[in-house]
């Protein structure tokens, strides 16, 4: 079971991931684009874009490695998409199985959750004084926000709240790195085009 620190391993050297991570990302992206045949002239726009997105996600997952759950889940999604687009019949894709959190973590997480989500018992004057409607409303809002996060983070649905937080942080940092690397690639291509146009 990856500790929180293991999952946060990408955060070396500054926001948006370390330089080493981004270099690995760029390398993987170029290899992936090559494999996806995006330089072919016969490809339609949509097809090319989908291939690019797939290559970007595959590059991200493989550069990050198998430590975080989101990374494994994303890799599985990419494989499933590739099978779909190539028309291969595939049993509905592997879903990411999050390693079960250690029992102690579960107990502590549950205690913390219970504390924040405790509802006032009807008919108990002390409790309703202690936990007013405000607390209940806030707890329901927390539940809602957490469930949105579970949809956004790959593989988030299988996770408990504490692991989800660590995964979210790691995922956000890695995503930012992916954006940065793709922006770099765009600039490279734009400059190449500009140079080519000048020389005409």
């Amino acid at each position: 079971m990856a500790s929180a620190r293991g999952v946060l391993g990408v955060q070396g050297g500054g926001g948006g991931g370390s330089g080493r991570f981004k270099r690995a990302l760029l390398r993987n992206l170029i290899i992936g684009l090559r494999k996806g045949g995006v330089a072919s002239r016969e490809m339609g726009f949509r097809e090319r874009k989908d291939a690019i997105k797939r290559a970007a996600d595959a590059a991200l997952a493989s550069a990050r490695g198998a430590a975080p759950c989101w990374s494994r889940s994303l890799a599985a999604d990419v494989v499933a998409q590739q099978h779909r687009s190539s028309g291969t019949a595939n049993s509905s894709g592997e879903c990411c199985k999050a390693p079960p959190p250690s029992p102690r973590k579960m107990i502590v997480c549950k205690k913390i959750l219970r504390r924040s989500l405790r509802r006032p018992r009807p008919g108990n004057a002390t409790t309703s004084k202690k936990y007013g409607a405000g607390v209940v409303a806030r707890a329901m809002l927390m539940r809602k926000r957490t469930s949105v996060l579970k949809e956004i983070v790959p593989g988030g649905k299988a996770l408990d709240v504490c692991t989800l937080m660590a995964e979210t942080l790691d995922y956000a940092v890695s995503l930012k790195a992916q954006v940065d690397v793709m922006q770099l690639l765009v600039r490279i291509l734009q400059e190449q085009n500009a140079i080519a146009l000048e020389k005409q």
Binding site: A66, R104, K105, V148, A172
Partner: protein
């Protein structure tokens, strides 16, 4: 994968929360007190991740277009193509 059997403490959770806060774009931080609403933090994290997804989508559009309009005859295009072939 390491299997460190430590307790995940309140301190670790606070650390994660403050890291998330540090990660999010500047505009939100000035308003938050030291005990800022956790749900607000989650909401902003969700927005942040969604905006990153949109950026990736937009960049994929641009990359797709750039690759399709590359001048076929220039040596630069050949270099790029050989890189990506």
């Amino acid at each position: 994968m390491s299997s460190r059997r430590g307790r995940i403490t309140d301190e670790e959770i606070n650390e994660l929360i403050s890291k998330l806060q540090a990660l999010l774009p500047e505009s939100s931080r000035s308003r938050s007190a030291s005990r800022s609403s956790a749900s607000k933090l989650l909401k902003e994290t969700c927005s942040y991740i969604k905006s990153l997804h949109r950026e990736v989508d937009d960049l994929s559009d641009r990359l797709s277009e750039l690759m399709s309009t590359m001048d076929n005859n220039s040596p630069q295009a050949e270099i790029i193509r050989s890189l990506l072939r």
